[in-house]
Subunit: 333 residues, 2 copies
């Protein structure tokens, strides 16, 4: 027994935005599983801003994707053949299977998921890596407290929308920054206190107006001028959480840094980076908290699900950087 | 009884480096002290990098110097007339008397000093604000531990030289960054493990060579490219202490920020600002520790003392930004 698998491989490291030369569409053979292995059929592929960084041949928190290898991606999948004692045919799982239709796995880093509890896209979003990122970034790194003014950028995105709703549930005042009237409207729907459309408004001035006493926690997903706008409006003792910098990931130069970083001194503030993988041991805590909030209606888990299978991946990824998604962006295989 | 006092007033807020138009040299009348007041004769004036920031009309950790007012400065002085119950004629004191020969004080923020324990310049340096800044920045903000690799910029300066020696005494490996062979030679004399001449060497590459396992604590006094060089060479969990940014203070634009700030994410590191005034209650702890080290020879307190009285202040301040000093820069009145 064997299968074929359409796969997207990294053909060439891009400079700036990925383009046609970046990717190769390949049909691979997937053999029957050896002892201790199983084969999955991927159903949903996660699109993550961090993917762009994985294409660069630089030392980072995770090794780069190798040239000629399948593009790294988190996926939900179903086990279709197994010679592994812990995974049975029919099991729904999440794992880093890559941008492909089928894959062999030895089970490392693979977790079973309950599709009755939440849909596959939600297991890649609010209950997946973005949700974990939001939870530990806000609580552990941001040390958010009831009454804090919490500002989050890319607030309508996969991580930001969970941050916003977690912070609201903790009793914080929440200001979300997002691009465009639809995202702003959705943020108000899910209960943020204020929403700023960075495409239409001066973020620095608006923050000064609506947070005149300053920001306690700024959860940054974007970098660039929005990070500077937040730095200019901190409260004493503020915590700036460096989660991502989507505005810079496709910049072929080393993008400008935050000009207002000396605000950290003026406001006795800190800016701290983190990587969600470090919290793996505590994922169950976050899943339980977020699933509970989804269950009782305090958390809306939203996903934008694109169709088109693995061959739609290159366009889907560019769409992510254009901000086509509200909530988590997922590609259906 | 009254006195005259030569004083340097702020005449005009500078753009870029202060120049002739920035300052006015004035002779003021100093009246006899009213009840609860005393009059001091200033003997040494402290030159501090932060002074440039005090000239800007912006919200910061301390109000700007007012136009037409004496330039703010820490000074050592002697009480020459007193109607204050706690200060007697002949007392040696340190206080923010300003760039002037004589001043009236109500005693707020004024501390008596023991000139037998240390010279007046040392009370403005290792035992003054720079020493306090070094102590709390390294221990509280940097959380330096024995065995840590500690890198400090402006390492031959007033703050940096105390940081370097405190860190050595704590059992850290210390790398000092300074400008020019004389400063580098002095740093080696006072026991740093490695010294980098940023004017002659590529700091980023040198740090990679001599700290291949990365930096645990980076104590930044300078900002700019040296901050970036340190950020590129952090160790996981590193603490970046934002104490100053002397390379940017005279830049009339908002200088570039640290391009490599995303290293904070890669290395799970933090960058934290602080202001020494917040530690006022704990100054005695730092004075005791540093005085002890001076006493037993583990700390060299060095000062560069300029002559010329208050009228030499404008040039002395420019000299500070050129880096004419090794150790604390002080102007003798």
């Amino acid at each position: 027994m064997s299968w074929t698998s359409r796969e997207i491989h990294l053909a060439e490291r891009p400079t700036g935005y990925p383009d046609d030369k970046t990717w190769a569409s390949v049909t691979a053979e997937v053999p029957a599983p050896a002892a201790g292995e199983f084969v999955v059929e991927v159903d949903h592929i996660s699109l993550d801003p961090a993917m762009r960084g994985w294409l660069n041949d630089v030392r980072s928190y995770i090794p780069p994707v190798k040239l000629g290898a399948p593009m790294r991606a988190l996926c939900t999948a179903t086990v279709i053949a197994s010679a592994h004692p812990e995974f049975a045919v029919g099991d729904a799982v999440v794992g880093t299977f890559g941008v492909r239709e089928r894959a062999v796995s030895d089970g490392r880093g693979v977790t079973k998921i309950d599709l009755d509890a939440a849909s596959a896209p939600t297991w890649l979003g609010a209950l997946g890596m973005p949700g974990m990122t939001a939870y530990f970034g806000l609580t552990d790194i941001g040390r958010a407290q009831p009454g804090d003014t919490v500002v989050v950028s890319a607030a309508a995105g996969a991580v930001g929308s969970v941050v916003a709703q977690l912070a609201k549930a903790m009793g914080c005042r929440v200001i979300g920054i997002a691009g465009g009237p639809d995202k702003v409207a959705w943020l108000k729907e899910i209960g943020v206190d204020e929403a700023i459309d960075y495409k239409a408004e001066n973020v620095l001035k608006r923050l000064r107006q609506i947070a005149p006493d300053g920001i306690d926690v700024y959860f940054d997903n974007v970098g660039g001028q929005i990070l500077d706008a937040a730095l200019a409006n901190l409260r004493r003792g503020a915590r700036v959480v460096i989660c991502g910098a989507i505005s810079t990931y496709n910049d072929p130069t080393l993008a400008e840094g935050p000009r207002r970083y000396m605000s950290l001194l003026v406001f006795r503030a800190s800016m701290t980076g983190f990587v969600v993988f470090d919290y793996e041991d505590r994922y169950p805590e976050a899943v339980e908290a977020i699933a509970g909030m989804i269950g009782d209606g305090r958390m809306v888990a939203r996903e934008t699900v694109l169709e088109g299978g693995v061959d739609a991946f290159p366009d889907a990824l560019l769409g992510l950087y254009r901000g086509v998604n509200t909530g988590k962006l997922v590609l259906k295989v």
